[in-house]
Amino acid sequence: MASDASPEAAQGGDLVRRHRLSTRIWHWINAVTLLVMLMSGLMIFNAHPRLYWGEYGANFDRPWLKIGTLQNTRTGEYSGFLQVGDERIDTTGVLGLWQDSNGRQQRYAFPSWATIPSRYSLAGARIWHLAFAWVLALGLLAYLVRSLVNGHLRRDIHITRREWSPRHLWHDVNQHARLRFPKGAAALRYNALQKLAYAGVLFVLLPLMIVTGLAMSPGTDAWAPIVTELFGGRQSARSVHFICAFLLVVFFVVHMVMVVLAGPINEVRSMITGKYRLPKEKGQ
């Protein structure tokens, strides 16, 4: 069967067109950009590993999240910790206290394998972060405009009223939990959970990352104070920035698990060449 077969007529085993060029280009630029943004962002966080709610927040104020290093007064030994509210978790080896590649003990929040640059440099991390921020923002804008024009959003991401129904959502959750993925031509359509995940990233998480990023800029706060005020202050915006970054990491992990479960070669190929082999139906 020809690869350009109309999706309706396609059946399990056929190689069909799956992802548009604009989607594929944006996907990979975004993958690199988000990785750079995350890792350089973790380095920026290392400069002040505390998060607050409100407009201000510094060492004398109470953080709701903190990564740090403790010294045991009896043994003199150090340990790393993550504190959320009043809960403190020992994170020695990963956060707050870890060994660098030369075997030296380091006390920065995030370890060198998770940051760009790998060695502590707030200035360097800011150069990476703020340059790639333009790629992220302009890329997202271009992709959303293109997807609106070519119907991608309406056709593939728009969640119908039927899909919003609790019964339908529950059915999808059930199917996912049992790892029952759609077969044949049905695999070409995103189910409600997939749509929710992609719409959440496209319309909620990525825009929030950009807006909260802007809210932290003292320059932007002057000409668009509403951006900072919307989040209840600069330090709140910084907290939301961090939480959204965490949620994007969660999305990434689920995304990876799903790609592996659904057939990694077929899935990755579809995002590179655009061609996707439909999963065979039962008894086919």
Binding site: M39, S118, W134
Partner: protein, 255 residues
């Protein structure tokens, strides 16, 4: 014995992750050392400045009320001025201290602190944002920098205002610079008062720059001399500020 030879799945995954991560990271670090790549990334700063100026050239930083202020305002950078002369002025309560204004000006000045206090004053409660990520809200008072520059009358070639400071950071003199857009901004003041009291030493007594739409390191403390210049070249490291020279921090710090 034989068990040791078998790579556990955990070790394998760990090696894989660390290996790929290491490769990626050393790749990023290498890339960053490439002058062309780095200058492309650093050109982001020009884009920030151009876009911020296009959208809000004369916009005012947000001002807060007394109730919004930080209970404790964290001091950062140098906590004290350097040298015998500074310590003497400090001991005298800066009674014989004066601010020098020179460089590309028609009328070089030495303005005593008492005279600075008698100029028309601006009082503002603003948020101080450190490049590290923390913020503190405090109240500042002092004459507008524009007023002082008008007294000295800038020559037409003047493009930058440089602030020479009395503190040494890691043994090097601190300095900062801004352009004329920020120098003549209504909220750019030479603060001698903080939270209703004369500036404490840890906050840069007797005089500190407030340039409200930029990050903390631009707000030079211990200001002793203001110099108008046509260019930043040939001044210390040539990048217009202590952190700009020492740590590759952006000169335009509005982001």
């Amino acid at each position: 014995m034989s068990r040791k030879l078998i790579l556990s799945r955990r070790t394998l995954i760990r090696t894989g992750v660390v290996g790929t991560g290491g490769l990626l990271l050393s790749g990023c670090d290498k890339l960053f050392e490439n002058p062309t790549f780095r200058s492309v990334l650093e050109s982001g700063e020009d884009l920030h400045k151009a876009s911020q100026r296009a959208l809000g050239r004369n916009a005012l930083a947000r001002e807060f009320s007394v109730g919004d202020m930080s209970p404790v305002f964290r001091a950062n950078g140098s906590r004290e001025g350097a040298g015998g002369e500074y310590r003497q002025h400090l001991a005298q309560g800066f009674a014989n201290w004066s601010l020098k204004v020179d460089g590309l000006v028609e009328r070089p000045l030495a303005i005593p602190l008492t005279a600075l206090r008698q100029l028309p004053q601006r009082k503002q409660i603003t948020r101080h944002d450190c490049v590290e990520g923390w913020s503190a809200i405090g109240q500042w008072q002092g004459p507008r920098l524009a007023h002082v520059l008008d007294l000295a009358r800038l020559k037409p070639q003047a493009q930058y205002i440089v602030f020479h400071c009395a503190d040494l950071y890691r043994g090097r003199p601190y300095y900062e610079s801004i352009d004329l857009v920020d120098a003549f901004h209504p909220q750019t003041i030479l603060a001698w008062q903080m939270n209703g009291k004369p500036l404490e030493q840890q906050h840069g007594a007797p005089l500190r720059l407030r340039v409200e739409r930029q990050l903390g390191y631009k707000h030079a403390k211990f200001v002793t001399r203001i110099e108008a210049r046509a260019s930043l070249e040939g001044l210390y490291g040539g990048k217009g500020g202590y952190w700009e020279d020492q740590g590759a921090y952006a000169w335009y710090a509005g982001i």
